[in-house]
């Protein structure tokens, strides 16, 4: 029961966080500097999400099949593959490397 409570609080906080962004005064968003920061933050967050998903395992850094997924995705992107192909390349590379017994 206790776990249910924390689940529901987490859900409430998640929604309020999202909603809060929509109530930031419009004036602030018209500032070119704030928009520039929003742009750099998007890049930073996506780079960070990529890295976390590729090498983090809890608080440990691990090199496993996900590195292969990262490389395969980069190659697919460099070859200008469409989004879905990139994602499938990543999954296939990770699955294949594990099948071969690595990571």
């Amino acid at each position: 029961m206790n776990l249910w409570l924390w689940i529901l609080i987490a859900c409430g906080l998640a929604y309020l966080t999202k909603l809060l962004g929509y109530f930031v005064p419009a004036k602030l968003l018209e500032s070119p500097r704030i928009m520039h920061v929003a742009g750099t933050m998007t890049i930073g967050l996506l780079a960070s999400l990529t890295v976390v998903n590729a090498v983090a395992s809890g608080q440990a850094l691990v090199l496993d099949a996900r590195i292969g997924a990262l490389a395969a995705a980069a190659l697919a992107l460099w070859l200008r593959a469409p989004f879905l192909v990139v994602v499938i390349s990543g999954a296939a590379a990770a699955a294949l490397l594990r099948l071969l017994g690595w990571g």
Partner: protein
């Protein structure tokens, strides 16, 4: 929302196509969440409530990950909330882009996640931004929940979701979202700095927090690189220069 008025146009819309393939790829990944959640000791409905109401993949994985590692409910909630802070930033960006009014604002807040925000901000035309955001947001919501249920019910039969490379799919998806933004020197420098900050932070702070560290690093770089451009230094490396030319500045 976006559907109904012009189905033909919608099918031809690039944002719609990106959003749709993103919905399928991300939605499928819900299997992984459902299976891992049940394997971590959550029951079916706890797993479904996380996908239906929390609805932010990273935060959901953080929540079950902390509990699976023996952490308390408070710790799980904290990790999930910290990781979800970026959605507040996304909310600001979507609000600036689409300016949803009335009840739409409350609905769009719920589907404000990495993928819907990235799809929208990858487009330049406001109609395309709107199509991309809503298609990805609602599409992922529906598929993510269906596949969470599939994973939770079939988790044991499926075995380890890693065996299917689903974690590799997530890595590829985030790289694919980042890729089109890496035009010019500044975006590359920001991405490299944030990737490094993330790697350095991982061993020292709870999971979820390294992403916020990277956001702060990116924010500081953005804040000061903008100031530098105000002074007229290195204007040629500014990837946002085109945009700024449309709104001449008078404070020089």
């Amino acid at each position: 929302m976006t559907s109904g008025s012009a189905p033909l146009k919608l099918r031809e819309s690039p944002a719609f196509k990106i959003a749709l393939s993103l919905s399928i790829a991300t939605g499928l990944y819900g299997v992984s969440f459902g299976a891992l959640s049940v394997a971590s000791g959550f029951d079916f409905w706890q797993t479904m409530v996380l996908s239906l109401l929390l609805f932010s993949g990273g935060s959901q994985f953080a929540f079950i990950g902390v509990v699976a590692g023996g952490g308390s409910g408070v710790a799980a909630m904290t990790a999930s909330a910290l990781l979800g802070l970026r959605n507040g930033i996304y909310g600001m960006q979507i609000n600036a882009m689409l300016r949803p009014g009335g009840w739409k604002r409350y609905l769009s807040a719920h589907v404000t996640i990495d993928e819907s925000t990235a799809t929208a901000s990858g487009q330049t035309d406001p109609d395309e931004q709107r199509r991309g955001f809503w298609t990805a947001g609602i599409g992922i919501f529906i598929l993510w929940n269906i596949f969470t249920a599939v994973g939770a019910l079939a988790g044991d039969a499926m075995g380890d979701p890693k065996q299917w490379g689903l974690d590799g799919a997530a890595v590829a998806a985030f790289l694919a979202l980042l890729w089109p933004r890496l035009k010019g020197r500044e975006p590359w420098a920001i991405a490299a700095a944030c990737a490094l900050a993330t790697v350095l932070a991982v061993p020292f702070v709870p999971s979820g927090v390294p992403i916020l560290v990277a956001a702060v690093v990116a924010g500081i770089i953005g804040w000061f690189s903008h100031a530098r451009m105000d002074e007229g230094l290195e204007p040629d490396v500014d990837p946002y220069a085109e945009k700024r030319q449309q709104e001449p500045r008078s404070n020089a």
